[in-house]
């Protein structure tokens, strides 16, 4: 898969892993550049993890610090679990991007800067008094000041069908071409992508392709780049057919797979909300799978329609983020009361309220668990990596339908937008999803009769003769479902609904422990912290110490052996992107003195941050706040920071 050496290159330096970050104005095409680089890297066979970082504003003023958009990728010749702690290579399209990101770049890291925007105005917007490319402030890095925009314009000189503005916008492809040369990548996948993407405007397609090749050739012809010619061999992975997939794509694809496997029509109800909207966009494309997508008038209606569709016998799914989940809690309670199967996806983002809409957080766990009135248990799942969203979408549907209960799937901004290589499963590897609607059998129909094993009630859908019945939000009498205000019936039904969800524990795998079974310290996490914890534990072990890791993908009910696992270790650390929600649950449930390790900065943990936390606990030091020397921020010491 690797190309032969580019002409003129004596020898490429082999690296095990590299982290690259692209940064520029939101209009600079940074995300496209990142996506293309990722795809090509994936095709080259490296393991990889990505972290897109969108600015919060739709279009902050050009050239300003809040307008900077970033994309980070770590790729390697071995297994990796995170998008990298610090970039080894930074490509900055303007002074603001340089300002925001340069301090993260490793010492002696490769810094490629487009000189075009380093004029007085743009430097002032970024807060540079003097030109950093000309003073000595960047001397710790291997600086490549390149007139990327100008060279792009020159390479496109002959193209008459494309405006100057459009030509200028091809500069990201020039930079991408440079990055491809540095890492010895094949241009083929991106050339093909451009062809397909701009098939309606051949002029633009030609311009982008020309710029891409020009960037590549420029490095090839320029001696200075010989020093940064690298080679990252493919990672040894399980044989098979692979693709690169983001969390939201994996989720949407998993939902369609669940629909096909179960034979149930997929109904997806949603209201536009960041960072969940991409699931709606993706599903809306797949109408030839019989998918019905419904963009409702509001979050409440989306959820209510999903409950209605479940009554009608569809595989019914709602997707949202925190503020939307709050609005959905009323109709979710109705689904709990009427025991209808619905899946609710919460792509968590920074909260409360509008919070940090484009940034990641894990602070909806307790809300998912308890955020409804009355005793209203639901099942809760959380995939650990972007690609795992595929299987967990299917799993959420399977559990909802089999146990006749709402299921919440907790993703987050990092999982949703991050991507990784994914071995494409055979259809035969997908879980079975048998579904049977109730049919009249001559006996009186009991809508609230229960399956002995799962305690679930029958799914009797309108249109079925002989099963006419009424359900509703009022408490129902056991068996008949008639409205009942009988206090003992209410108590029994509350317990039954809770027991039904608790029984799901019989239907899910036990909690697995990775690493050293006989360690003193266990690191337990859930959801998207998996990669950072995994990479931290690896480093602990590489340093000759013992540590165990367990990762919860089922948050309610917890796997059967959770208590047993927790009690096996002297110390239990729980890293989370919140102020200690899983810690709280585990302490309350099992009386285990879980040590929280928390971060609330709108970004995922780096492996190093978790590593520092583990080391502190092992050495009996206080846990520090990630990214600073201050003690870990708590509600009682916040003023000391």
């Amino acid at each position: 898969m690797q190309k032969p050496l580019a002409p003129g290159v004596q020898e490429r330096k082999r690296l095990e892993h590299v982290t690259v970050r692209f940064a520029g104005d939101s209009g600079d095409g940074v995300q496209i550049t990142g996506d293309q680089f990722t795809n090509t890297t994936a095709i080259a066979g490296n393991d990889l993890a990505t972290l897109p970082d969108y600015p919060a504003e739709i279009r902050a003023p050009a050239g300003t610090l809040p307008g900077v958009s970033g994309f980070q990728i770590q790729f390697a010749a071995t297994d990796i679990y995170t998008p990298g702690d610090q970039p080894d290579v930074l490509v900055a399209f303007n002074p603001a991007a340089l300002k925001v990101h340069v301090n993260d770049l490793v010492q002696n890291g490769v810094l490629i800067v487009d000189t075009k925007k380093f004029d007085k105005i743009n430097m002032a917007k970024a807060g540079y008094a003097t030109n950093p490319l000309e003073d000595s402030s960047l001397s710790n890095y291997r600086l490549f000041s390149e007139p990327i925009t100008d060279m792009t314009m020159r390479s496109l000189q002959g193209l008459e069908s494309v405006s100057a503005r459009e030509k200028e916008r091809c500069k990201n492809f020039f930079a991408l071409g440079m990055a491809y040369w540095i890492f010895n990548r094949d241009l083929g996948p991106s050339l093909r992508w451009i062809q397909d993407k701009f098939k309606k405007s051949p002029g633009i397609a030609e311009a982008c392709q020309t710029a891409l090749k020009a960037g590549y050739n420029y490095c090839d012809m320029t001696d200075a780049f010989q020093a940064v010619a690298y080679e990252i061999p493919a990672a040894p992975t399980k044989p098979g057919l692979y693709r690169n997939i983001s969390g939201n794509q994996a989720l949407a694809t998993g939902l369609v797979a669940a629909s096909v496997r179960s034979g149930l029509k997929l109904f997806y109800g949603a209201y536009p909300i960041t960072p969940a909207s991409d699931i709606l966009h993706e599903l809306a494309k797949h109408k030839n799978f019989g998918v019905i997508t419904f963009q409702a008038e509001d979050e409440i209606a989306a959820m209510a329609a999903v409950v209605g569709a479940a009554f009608s016998g569809a595989l019914s799914v709602a997707g949202t983020a925190g503020p939307g989940l709050a609005l959905k809690s009323e109709a979710m309670s109705l689904a709990i009361m009427t025991e209808l199967p619905v899946v609710v996806i919460d792509v968590q983002r920074g909260g409360p309220s509008t919070g940090l809409p484009t940034k990641t957080e894990q602070a909806d766990l307790l809300f998912a668990m308890y955020g409804r009135h009355g005793e209203s248990p639901v099942a809760i799942l959380a995939p650990a990596t972007p690609a795992e969203n595929f299987l967990f979408a299917i799993e959420a549907c399977r559990l909802a339908v089999r146990h006749m209960t709402p299921v919440i799937l907790l993703s987050d901004g990092y999982l949703a937008n991050g991507s990784e290589p994914w071995r494409i499963p055979e259809l035969s590897e997908l879980p079975e999803m048998k579904t049977e609607f109730a049919h009249a059998n001559g006996k009186e129909f009991m809508p609230y009769a229960r399956d002995e094993k799962t305690l679930s009630r029958p799914w009797a859908v309108p249109g079925t003769p002989g099963l006419e019945h009424r359900i509703g939000g009022l408490e129902s009498r056991e068996l008949t479902g008639d409205v009942s205000y009988d206090p003992h019936n209410h108590e029994r039904m509350c317990v039954l609904r809770a027991a039904k969800v608790a029984r799901i524990a019989e239907d899910i795998p036990p909690l697995e422990v990775m690493g050293d079974e006989d360690a003193e310290v266990l690191v337990i996490g859930w959801g998207s912290t998996y990669g950072a914890i995994r990479s931290a534990c690896r480093r602990v072990q590489e340093a000759g110490r013992k540590v165990a890791q367990a990762h919860l993908r089922y948050l309610n009910p917890l796997p059967r052996n959770t208590e047993q696992v927790l009690k096996r270790y002297k110390k239990v650390i729980c890293p989370e992107i919140n102020l200690g929600q899983l810690s709280h649950l585990l302490r309350g449930r099992f009386l285990v003195d879980v040590i929280p390790l928390n971060k609330m900065q709108g970004s995922p943990f780096t492996g190093r941050e978790v590593l520092e936390g583990i080391e502190a606990v092992m050495e009996g030091r206080p846990v520090r706040q990630p990214g600073s020397d201050r003690p870990f921020l708590t509600t009682s010491n916040y003023s000391e920071g």
């Binding site: 898969m1 994936a42 095709i43 992508w193 397909d196 493919a234 992975t237 399980k238 044989p239 098979g240 057919l241 692979y242 693709r243 997939i245 794509q249 694809t253 797979a257 109904f267 797949h286 109408k287 030839n288 799978f289 019989g290 998918v291 019905i292 419904f294 409702a296 008038e297 409440i300 989306a302 209510a304 329609a305 999903v306 209605g308 569709a309 479940a310 009554f311 009608s312 016998g313 569809a314 019914s316 009323e330 109709a331 309670s333 009427t338 494409i424 499963p425 259809l427 859908v461 309108p462 249109g463 079925t464 002989g466 006419e468 019945h469 009424r470 509703g472 939000g473 008639d482 409205v483």
Partner: protein
């Protein structure tokens, strides 16, 4: 999902008893809801559609108990959300006959947004709004249709907000079928419900309903027998708008408003009167009629044909299947760019 076939050819015979559930009806004695239930059950039976193909969806309020009393599928949902739940029910299975039962509080207040969107989308559901101009279930607070200055438990000094007119609201929300009737006009109510059932698209029916307990005589000035003839204009398609004892009055357009005139006075003849056109594409005249209160206009204001929401949605699915072929899961999972590791 079971396929439903109920073509006219195999129209079956049902009686009101087939549609009556075994639940004891629990509205207050004398409540207008009883009459509406009786009328509706007869209409359902007469449609010749098996009862398993009906779904009654309601929100919260006295009226929303309705589904419990109908022996079909039923869903007593949450306050104001019935149109949204019904949207899911109908989109997931367009063959079902979905009837939404709501009230003035449920539909116009907490559920106003859902109602507006169900109407504008032209989802093929039938929405019966029992308007008693009061909150009955919560024991007597003023509602969005209560008249200005209404004294209730929550407004001891009188309400200070302008009421909303449900028919005007429905017309402004692009509903394709809009009607008004009353609990005590049973034959009229039934004919309106029958027409609503025939309509392919959303149907909105405001039913003036008396609440004997908290707002007795809510529509006395409209429906009481002694004044009824002079206070009601019954719309008939294609006919001039004549009303009043001895049919001596009529409605005429004057500038940008509708006025009531005496036939024969000042040379007014039938020719000067407005002629009702239910199928008019423009709803402006219907809207003006909906605003009159002395007399109050009853009947079908509007009945126009437009493709329904769920049909359009399912057509898109059908078209996609024809254009791209039935979805291939493995293709979808593979995506566009793949590579093989040996």
């Amino acid at each position: 999902m079971p396929a439903i076939t109920a073509s006219k050819a195999e129209k079956q015979k049902f009686t009101k008893a087939d549609f009556q559930s075994n639940q004891e009806v629990r509205w207050c004695p004398g409540c207008g809801d009883y009459a509406i239930l009786t009328g509706a059950l007869q209409v359902f039976a007469g449609l010749g559609i098996p009862r398993e193909n009906f779904v009654m969806v309601s929100g919260i309020g006295c009226s929303s108990r309705f589904p419990y009393y109908v022996n079909t599928y039923g869903f007593h949902t949450i306050h104001g959300r019935a149109p949204a739940v019904a949207t899911g029910v109908k989109l997931a299975n367009p063959e079902l006959q979905v009837w939404v039962i709501t009230g003035d509080g449920d539909g116009m207040s907490i559920g106003g947004n859902h109602l507006m969107h169900a109407l504008r989308r032209n989802l093929d559901i039938k929405i019966l709004m029992f308007n008693n101009r009061i909150y009955g279930l919560t024991k007597g607070q003023y509602s969005p249709t209560s008249e200005y200055g209404k004294v209730t438990k929550s407004t001891p000094f009188g309400s200070v907000d302008q009421p909303v007119n449900p028919v005007s609201f429905a017309l402004a929300s692009e509903a394709t079928f809009v009607a008004r009737t009353a609990d005590i006009y049973l034959p009229h109510l039934q004919s309106v419900l029958n027409r609503a059932a025939e309509h392919k698209g959303v149907a909105f029916i405001e039913i003036l309903q008396n609440c004997v307990i908290f707002n007795d005589g809510a529509f006395k000035d409209v429906t009481e027998r002694s004044i009824r003839d002079d206070e009601n204009v019954l719309l008939e398609d294609g006919k001039p708008m004549i009303f009043g004892k001895g049919r001596k009055k009529g409605l005429r357009l004057k500038g940008l408003s509708v006025e009531s005139v005496e036939l024969g006075q000042d040379g007014v003849t039938e020719k000067d009167l407005l002629v009702h056109d239910q199928r008019a594409e423009d709803q402006t005249l219907a809207y003006m009629l909906s605003r009159l209160d002395h007399p109050t206009v009853m009947g079908i204001f509007r009945d126009v044909t437009r493709p329904s929401f769920e049909r359009r949605a399912h057509e898109q699915v059908q078209n996609a299947k024809e254009r791209y072929g039935e979805g291939d899961l493995l293709d979808l999972i593979r995506g566009k760019e793949t590579w093989t590791i040996k």
